[in-house]
């Protein structure tokens, strides 16, 4: 039973991450290939504050959101001058830079490659309580994104993607929307990172490689770009499937490669046959 709660918690965390990535990639059309960097910044911020400075976890998670959003904006500004594909390449490079920073500079607990020993508040201790807490955060995040989708701001994001000139003609600057949505995406990645650490009880740099950025692309690609339902559907289906494989008794040495192989196959199938994913309202145009 605890293991089922663990899987559901994992899905919730990835839904939060997907919501942010979908705002950036799906709604605004920014080809982000390095979102795992901001996930890592959030995870490390929350873990360091909580483990070394004994900041209560909810406050540490809020701080993680703020720090990730700031780091995200700071890294976006220089990259904004790049067009389409080169922007994707730049963010991909950033992912590698952040991985090396985590790997070489991030603090670790003596005798391990990463950090553990989070102190969670009483209401989030135990698999069931943790799941309910994370679920609550996920629901709040999803509601916020739903409101945002229907708001004038949501329309402006889609206009940034499809009709930047129209946006300019009514006196609004697409670049400003790119910056603000990138901050929101960074904050959600930071929140997801903090909760990811709480779910796994352990973080190390290998959680935040390019493969994680690709995984998020697979999640929202399969679920559907620019769609709230897509951000929920992708992680639920794919994590459900790969975790299900463990239940059928697949040895754990095979689940890792099988998962990444499956993601690769899904990317190929998506690009060949259905670039809008299952319920997407937009597709990979470029």
């Amino acid at each position: 039973m605890d293991h089922l709660f663990y899987i559901a918690t994992l899905m919730s965390v990835w839904i939060i991450f997907s919501l942010g990535a979908n705002l950036v990639i799906g709604y605004t059309g920014l080809m982000a290939m390095g979102q795992a960097a901001y996930l890592g910044v959030g995870a490390y911020t929350a873990a360091v504050l909580n483990i070394f400075f004994h900041v209560p976890f909810p406050i540490a998670a809020l701080a993680a959101m703020a720090v990730s959003a700031l780091v995200a904006v700071a890294t976006l500004l220089p990259l904004q001058r790049l067009e389409g594909f080169y922007f994707a390449l730049g963010t991909l490079g950033l992912n590698f830079l952040f991985f090396d920073l985590f790997h070489n500079l991030a603090p670790r607990v003596e005798g391990s490659e990463g950090l553990y020993g989070l102190e969670l508040p009483a209401f989030a201790t135990g698999a069931r309580n943790l799941f309910l807490s994370v679920l609550a955060v996920t629901i709040v995040s999803a509601l916020a994104c739903w409101r945002l989708d229907a708001s004038p701001y949501g329309r402006a994001l889609r206009a940034t993607r499809d009709r930047p000139d129209a946006l300019r003609s009514i006196g609004k600057e697409p670049r400003m929307f790119q910056i603000s949505v990138w901050a929101v995406g960074g904050a959600l990645a930071g929140l997801a990172g903090a909760l990811y650490g709480a779910t796994l009880f352990y973080i190390d740099p290998t959680l935040f490689t390019l493969n994680t950025s690709i995984a998020i692309l697979v999640f929202i690609g399969v679920g559907g770009l620019a769609s709230l339902a897509g951000s929920v559907l992708g992680p639920v289906l794919l994590i459900g499937f790969t975790e299900g494989l463990r239940y059928v008794g697949l040895p754990s040495t095979l689940t890792g490669p099988l998962q990444s192989g499956l993601y690769g196959l899904l990317l190929i199938v998506l690009m060949l046959f259905r670039r809008q994913g299952l319920v997407g309202k937009h597709d990979f145009r470029e």
Partner: protein, 282 residues
């Protein structure tokens, strides 16, 4: 110090073989072919499997491995890139699909080799001692081989009809098709030649230091940075100068700060695309 330089030149040889193919494909077809790294390790694994596991002779194993690489590269274009482009997919879609290929093959190789490094060499390397520095004859051999390959490529690009068509594609694809050039056939030739060169690099790497399932990505990204650095206005000159620079940088960085090599490479890449946004096009 000289020793590190020679190691850097040897590395530059591998990068140059991978980079020139990548540059050829990118400049002519605007495909960001990350799966070029997969083609590279596939040749390495085929070579390792035939030569090391089954003891088949060096020449036969190497030829088969290079042929396998060429066939794989061609197949990826025929059955993946071309259909995606026919269905209106752009540069980013093709890139994503290419990443898909990388993930699938990496997973297969990881399972088949259990993550153990595959070294195809069965004998030890001969060393030359010149003024206190130990130089491997193998590195000199690589340099010779790269020079020969580049010479043949030069002849192909500048002295044959297909080469002329390839250069025509670099300048203007529509015009090339309009004057009656068979773009599809030229495209096949590009993928075959580029993949064969990556295959040669794969064979040499497997023979030398060995390969793991992630060697392909690593080499590919270094080659990409080399291409961005060198530019593709002149494919051969750009690839070789970029590769020389990257080979020397990675050798020295690897010697002094091994844990920061990747950081260096990607920092260079980001700085280059920021300040030379058209760098890739020369």
């Amino acid at each position: 110090m000289i020793q590190t330089l020679i190691i850097g030149l040897g590395l530059a040889g591998y990068y140059a073989l991978v980079a020139v193919g990548f540059a050829l494909i990118f400049a002519t077809l605007r495909i960001f072919h990350v799966a070029h790294g997969t083609v590279f390790i596939t040749a390495g694994y085929v070579f390792w499997y035939m030569h090391r596991i089954h003891g088949i002779s060096l020449a036969i194993s190497a030829t088969a491995a290079i042929a396998a690489a060429a066939a794989l590269g061609l197949a990826i274009d025929r059955f993946l890139y071309l259909p995606i482009m026919r269905r209106g997919g752009g540069m980013f879609s093709v890139f994503i699909a290419s990443l898909g290929i990388v993930l699938v093959f990496d997973a297969i190789y990881l399972v088949l080799t259990s993550g153990v490094i595959a070294v195809a060499r069965t004998t030890s390397m001969e060393l030359w001692t010149v003024g206190g520095a130990a130089i491997r004859k193998f590195d000199l051999g690589i340099m010779g081989l790269v020079a020969l390959t580049y010479f043949l490529l030069y002849l192909w690009l500048h002295r044959t009809r297909t080469g002329l068509e390839v250069r025509g594609l670099t300048d203007n694809e529509q015009l090339a098709a309009a004057v009656g050039m068979n773009v599809d056939q030229t495209r096949n030739a590009i993928f075959l030649v580029a993949s064969a060169m990556a295959g040669l690099a794969g064979v040499l790497t497997a023979y030398d230091g060995g390969i793991t399932s992630d060697s392909g990505n690593r080499t590919l990204f270094i080659a990409v940075v080399a291409v961005i650095l060198g530019g593709v206005r002149n494919i051969l000159l750009g690839s070789i100068t970029g590769s020389l620079a990257l080979g020397i940088i990675t050798a020295y960085a690897g010697f002094f700060y091994p844990e920061w090599v990747t950081f260096c490479i990607f920092a260079i890449m980001i700085i280059l695309i920021l300040f030379r946004p058209k760098g890739l096009f020369g």
